[in-house]
């Protein structure tokens, strides 16, 4: 999850880009060394000093001009050929495949819909390892950009212009996802956790997500559940099996299963959840989640309820 992500790929798509990038870096380094050597040698040899020869009045050389025109053309032509090959691997053209997942960028969180199973989640993208996954990329408000550097290219989420992207993971593990296009005040905290799992583990995760959490009937949690449906929470959020069905904010059905809050602004712990409910701005300034001026008791009850959403 850390390091020079663009050069440590975990998918064939990202690998092909990394190989091309390394080739480009070598070309850049070679040309840079050539130019800087030319300049430094000139500075050492032709610097104005006592006894230095007079400057020679020369006007150019057609032969050299041809050399430094044709040389770069050859190098660029090679790079162009390499690039055509890489584009095919990194971003294979569609041939009738249907996307499995839809990712929708919102200010400032990700909605994730599994189109076959019907699972809806947010900010935590689970994928099975070992095969390319076609993802439909959309935006609900402004332009966002879906980017998981270790797994593939970035692609803009443009309102009114659905895109798609192939990603895959050759190894189970966690990967960083980010919104790469400036999308407003909380662009910085529009991150994503990508969890690649072995196919069996992915299937059981999906089954878990489909379960409808039981509505608590006693204690703090029950108080919280009542608050949740009585207060304004239900105006924006959805929890399967309850009256809450709005999709303006993230779906909270399995909130307690998730590891991050507010698209990566904090870890999902009861303490952080409490802080978030009391004052969302303290975790993510200028977020669209309002501060409802909840009392400590109310916030504790809501946290207790949400901890049952798994």
């Amino acid at each position: 999850m850390t390091g020079v992500l663009t050069l440590q790929p975990f998918s064939p798509e990202a690998s092909s880009i990394a190989h091309l990038f390394i080739a480009v870096l070598f070309v850049m380094l070679a040309i840079f060394l050539l130019v800087s050597t030319i300049v430094i040698v000139a500075l050492v040899r032709y610097r104005d000093r006592e006894g230095a020869p007079e400057a020679r009045q020369e006007f150019g050389s057609k032969r050299l001009e041809v050399a430094w025109t044709v040389g770069p053309i050859v190098i660029l032509a090679l790079l162009f050929g390499f690039m055509i090959h890489t584009i095919q691997v990194a971003d294979p053209p569609l041939s009738g495949e249907k996307p499995e997942i839809r990712v929708v960028g919102h200010q400032w969180w990700w909605e994730i819909d599994y189109l076959q199973s019907g699972v809806v989640t947010a900010n935590e993208l689970h994928i099975p390892t070992g095969r390319p996954i076609l993802i439909d990329i959309e935006a609900a408000d402004v332009i966002h950009d879906f980017w998981v550097p270790e797994l593939g290219r970035k692609i803009d989420a443009v309102p009114g212009h659905p895109n798609h992207v192939w990603i895959s993971a050759s190894k189970a593990g966690d990967y960083v996802g980010e919104c790469a296009e400036f999308c407003g005040d909380e662009h910085a905290w529009m991150r994503m956790l990508v969890v690649a799992q072995a196919p069996a583990a992915f299937d059981s995760w999906q089954q878990e997500q489909l379960k409808v959490p039981a509505v608590p009937s006693a204690g703090e949690a029950a108080k919280g559940a009542k608050l949740f449906s009585d207060q304004t929470c239900v105006n924006c959020h959805a929890v399967t099996g309850t009256v809450a069905n709005q999709r303006i904010g993230p779906d909270l059905t399995h909130l307690a299963d998730r590891r991050i809050l507010a698209a990566g602004a904090a870890e999902n712990t009861p303490a952080n959840l409490f802080r978030w409910l009391k004052d969302p701005n303290s975790i993510k300034p200028q977020t669209h989640m309002p501060n409802f001026q909840l009392t400590d008791d109310q916030a504790h009850a809501l946290v207790a309820y949400m901890e049952t959403l798994r």
Binding site: F32, Y46, Q57, L64, L76, I87, V158, H161, G184
Partner: protein, 555 residues
């Protein structure tokens, strides 16, 4: 500079009333005074834009910093980019050109002196209008290219972006009028014997660049008006929710925006093509090739805009076309770099401050050009665009490129403008602080981008390595701040007490060095004869005149 002499002359041929003090500047239609006013307004905006950059770097020095709110951070990076591009680099390059170009062609002034004054004042008004937004509810906060639909009223809650569009439209009108003025001046007011093949490369590139501005600026002005129609008249041209198109804005903006990049670098090339030969004691290597490659760059610059949009999902055909054209533009750029480098060979290199900035330009701009090639390679762009790698790239082009060239030009022509040399000792301090501070600030940002740090984030998580790299960058910014202070001190001190320059302190060859420093209002009493590209060389070495030597070489 002697104000008295200048005001006397203004009263002369143009028939204006004589003015004194401030009014002699405000009412001036003299290209030299207007050029200096462009430079001064550019300097003021440079200090403001630099202050904005310092605040940005302080906020990013450590992870999870709360120094600035996200909204203030967004306003600052938007204003920093907009200021540096539209109110610093463009006007300062225009100022140098407006001052120097008529002298170089032996003209008394530009073709339309009043239009020239209007160009300056309307662009200054545009800048002030832009900054007025801070008092009118908030500055624009959507980045210097203000992508729709974030710039639409539904997502931006202050008037900042309306001021942005209005202010920049004023700047655009001024620039457009300026480009017409320069074209007509160069075409009609050259001394007769200064044929197009003998034009100094500075003038050549100014001519090409003026055509570039003439073609590019109308696009952006129309785009600004379209945005204003959306914002003020509730149209939805760029609002997808109402049937508009978000990508249309990007195509409009970048079909201006990429030529704009060259509008900011061609005049820098122009300065370098004067400074490097003079301080090497040799004519420019491959004059025809440097001139022709400028034309090639100008034409190609209209065919590469969508390389800013490889991540929007245009499809492979478009991606490959624009990738191909973007690679192509690297060839004429390379030709220039090799010719400047070759000019150094067999020369006798005087390492003045101007030359130091000129040579540093070659190397820094090479880095910026090469990292630019990685954005032409489409899949690499898919990884790197919108990261700090891109932030590093544009700063190597616009700071390591344009600003270094501007500084080379200011050290070179300041004696012509003021009659006194900038202090070389302070100049060396200025150069080394700038060079070290610049590389400290920006070089490691390439790595940050490759590590996955996105641009335009007001803060970042504390991942291994991120803090130290950002901290180094912030320290570099403070070194740059120190370099700017040295520069200001140098200007203040040298303008009063600097060594008297004389007509031709650098042993230059173009016509501006044939008149006094500063030149009289009518520029020349008598223009020296022009029999080649370096009239003053020919005068000094009648036995080794350029065209005679070249003809002998060809035989």
């Amino acid at each position: 500079m002697s104000d008295a002499a200048l005001t006397d002359r203004i009263a002369g041929p143009a028939g204006e009333a004589a003015h004194r003090g401030l009014l002699s500047w405000v009412a001036s239609v003299d290209h030299k005074q207007i050029g200096i006013m462009y430079l001064l307004s550019g300097l003021v905006f440079f200090l403001i834009g630099g202050l904005e950059a310092m605040l940005i770097r302080v906020q990013l020095a450590i992870p999870n910093n709360h120094f600035l709110s996200p909204d203030m951070f967004d306003q600052l990076f938007t204003m920093h980019g907009t200021t540096m591009i539209f109110l610093v680099v463009m006007p300062v390059l225009t100022g140098l050109t407006i001052y120097v170009m008529p002298l170089m062609i032996g003209a008394r002034d530009v073709a339309f002196p009043r239009l020239n004054a209007m160009s300056f004042w309307i662009q200054l008004f545009g800048g002030i209008l832009l900054y007025f937004s801070f008092l009118a509810g908030g500055a624009p906060n959507d980045g210097w290219f203000s992508y729709a639909p974030l710039s639409e009223p539904a997502f931006s809650f202050n008037n900042g972006l309306s001021y942005w569009a209005l202010g920049l439209a004023c700047v655009g009108i001024g620039t457009l009028a300026g480009s017409i003025n320069m074209i007509v001046t160069i075409v009609t007011l050259r001394v007769k014997s200064l044929t197009i093949r003998r034009l100094p490369l500075f003038v050549w590139m100014t001519l090409v660049n003026s055509f570039l501005m003439l073609m590019a600026l109308p696009i952006i002005n129309a785009t600004f008006v379209t945005l204003l129609i959306d914002r003020l008249l509730n149209a939805h041209i760029f609002a997808p929710a109402f049937g508009g198109s978000a990508l249309l804005w990007q195509h409009y903006f970048w079909s201006f925006g990429h030529p704009e990049v060259y509008i900011m670098i061609l005049p820098a090339f122009a300065i370098i093509s004067e400074v490097i030969p003079v301080f090497s004691g040799k004519p420019i290597y491959g004059y025809e090739f440097v001139a022709a490659s400028t034309v090639a760059i100008a034409l190609l610059s209209f065919t590469v805009w969508a390389h800013h949009m490889f991540a929007v999902g245009m499809g492979h055909v478009f991606d490959l076309f624009f990738g191909f054209m973007s690679m192509t533009i690297a060839v004429p750029t390379g030709i220039k770099i090799f010719n400047w480098s070759a000019t150094l060979y067999h020369g006798r290199i005087r390492l003045t401050t101007s030359m130091l900035f000129g040579i540093a330009f070659i190397v820094m701009f090479t880095i910026g050009g090469l990292s630019g090639v990685s954005f032409a390679v489409v899949p690499v762009d898919w990884q790197l665009t919108d990261t700090y790698y891109l932030v590093a790239h544009i700063h190597y082009v616009l700071f390591g490129g344009s600003i270094f060239a501007i500084l080379a030009g200011i050290y070179y022509w300041f004696p012509k403008m003021s009659g006194r040399l900038l202090d070389e000792h302070l100049g060396k301090w200025h150069f080394w602080l700038t060079f070290i501070g610049f590389n400290l600030t920006f070089f490691l940002q390439h790595l940050l981008g490759m590590m996955g740090m996105r641009r335009r984030v007001f803060t970042y998580p504390n991942l291994p390595g991120w803090m130290i790299l950002n901290l180094i960058s912030t320290i570099g910014a403070f070194v740059l701040l120190a370099s700017v202070l040295v520069f200001l001190w140098n200007i203040i001190v040298s303008r009063r007490h600097g060594q008297v320059a004389g007509d031709n302190p650098w042993d230059g060859w173009t016509l501006e060095w044939a008149t006094s420093s500063p030149p009289p209002p009518e520029n020349f009493a008598l223009v020296p004869p022009v029999g080649g590209r370096r009239p003053l060389w020919d005068m000094k070495h009648p036995d080794r005149r350029d065209e005679a030597v070249a003809a002998a070489g060809a035989r």
